[in-house]
Symmetry: C2
Subunit: 314 residues, 2 copies
């Protein structure tokens, strides 16, 4: 069994390849929930949903999130009522949120509800939220007037289209934001732990903000393989480069490697960044190079195959 620490789009693509590359072996996705948000009374888990939609083959291929064939009747109406529509929830997508919110309201925990949804979406991996408690990413931005203020990840990312300058990112873990027993068990018993090519600050760091997870992953550092989400200084998707930059990290694969140095013994670097290999090795990480950019199912599978080979060579 391998465990994969996951954000949204990048992780979902990686898992899609891993399903094929690790054929016959169980893959457990451990998903970030720090970007979850309750909107209109509905519990939305964007990273989990992106994984559900991608692995069921129903994702909107153009955006990498949301559902193909989506319609917007509810949002259009809500707009006409003057409601908040900056977070666009498609009609089909809404059904997922209604399902989740109803089950949580009945007292089911997020792990159970995610398993139910994974079954309904026909997923062949096991998908676990990192915690059933409250874990939130808080983004401190500087606005036009020069003032700083705290916003949720979705406000920063969607409402503000990740334009404001990020002054700080912090994680609020509620008292009950313990890792679930399922997650701890997976991290202990996995043959290897993969850090998916997700945003280090916004997707992976909140998972590692849970003390017991950070401890468990760092103890298993020799079995941990991190895949870079940054190629030639740029995020493949999203604002990882700018966020890293504004936090004083170098927005490069080297910056990411520094971020992960305590957790991952092996770093998978893109061929285009070969010149950084030496500096990353100097951090005490083994470096393996390949093409990390996933365009389609064959490049997804090739990357996951490379990760499998890296794990096996250890």
């Amino acid at each position: 069994m391998i465990a994969v620490l996951c954000g949204g789009v990048g992780a979902a693509k990686f898992l899609d390849g891993a399903l094929r590359a690790f054929d016959g072996e169980e893959v457990v996705g451990i998903a970030n929930v720090a970007d979850d948000e309750v909107m209109h009374g509905l519990h939305i888990s964007p990273d989990i949903d992106t994984i559900l939609y991608t692995l069921s083959g129903q994702v909107n291929g153009e955006t990498g999130w949301g559902l193909a064939g989506e319609s917007w009747r509810v949002m259009e109406r809500l707009e006409s009522l003057g409601g908040q529509t900056w977070f666009r929830l498609g009609d089909l997508d809404l059904a997922t949120h209604l399902y989740r919110s109803a089950r949580l309201g009945q007292g089911a925990n997020l792990t159970a509800v995610t398993a139910e949804l994974a079954a309904k979406y026909g997923l062949r991996i096991r998908l676990l939220p990192v915690t059933n408690g409250e874990l939130r990413t808080i983004v401190t931005i500087r606005d036009d007037t020069g003032d700083t203020r705290d916003v949720s990840f979705q406000e920063y990312f969607v409402k503000m289209r990740h334009q404001p300058r990020v002054e700080a990112v912090s994680y609020r873990a509620g008292r009950e934001a313990a890792p679930t027993p399922e997650v701890l068990e997976a991290l202990h018993s996995a043959r290897a732990i993969v850090i998916a090519p997700s945003n280090p600050v916004l997707s992976i760091a909140p998972i590692l903000a849970i003390g017991e997870i950070a401890e468990t992953v760092s103890k298993r550092r020799d079995d941990v393989v991190a895949v870079t989400p940054i190629v030639q200084g740029r995020a493949i998707k999203g604002p990882a480069d700018r966020v890293l930059d504004s936090l004083g990290f170098e927005s490069s694969a080297l910056g990411v490697a520094r971020f992960y140095a305590d957790y991952a013994g092996t770093f998978i670097l893109d061929d285009r960044d070969a010149e950084l290999a030496g500096q990353i090795t100097a951090l005490g990480m083994k470096v393996r190079r390949t093409d990390t950019v996933m365009h389609d199912i064959s490049t997804k599978t090739a990357l996951a195959d490379f990760v499998r080979a890296t794990i096996e060579e250890a």
Copy 2:
């Protein structure tokens, strides 16, 4: 100004006529919220919504509730996910619930949110929920096995299609289920109070289950006009006849009049029930007769005109 105690469909039709009959005079609808339900995390106020949709001319004319031109994309998808779909929420209707739930989540009270929705739907009456607190109708049914159990009004009415035998109806008023200041002010200052042709047990009784409302309405008994929802022993819409019957009330206009005798000085009886006039008069109520069945805008307006004339003759 006149105040109207309201349930759903019958009240909405009456208000539609009252808008025309009481032209130039303010009409305040005081709506039952004891059938409200939180489903999938969304706060649903069926009686308020029926009034919003009817008075804005957007109601589904065939059912008397829900929206014309409704679609069911979210529900169909939720069904495919194995979610609870016995309470069918249309796509357009859902936008109302998202709006309400979002605003309540932001700390607005139901009175404020209802005013916002009424403005968006272009209502020309003032629509007030009877309370911002929790008020719920509990229906005790006897099921197939002979056991009794408590269900919410929507479970009884929608999920069980009002088929089970009703053993009892009770009202659970939370500690904060006080009438709003707006409602008390309306009941005190109205020229007359009309009890709309709604289900006495399921729509009007919960409103009167709030002590301060019952007290205020009974003190103003001489100014209160109740319109029968029962004609020739049958409810015009819904299960009022069976519910009255199973609670040991006579399912007739006389049964309704007995129910209202402490609150209403005047009872509007349908012409088809003329033979009951003597017995209702014996309850100490003035009886006025007319055609109470509302088919269309002209019969709605005629009934409201008759109510206005009745008020003015007092």
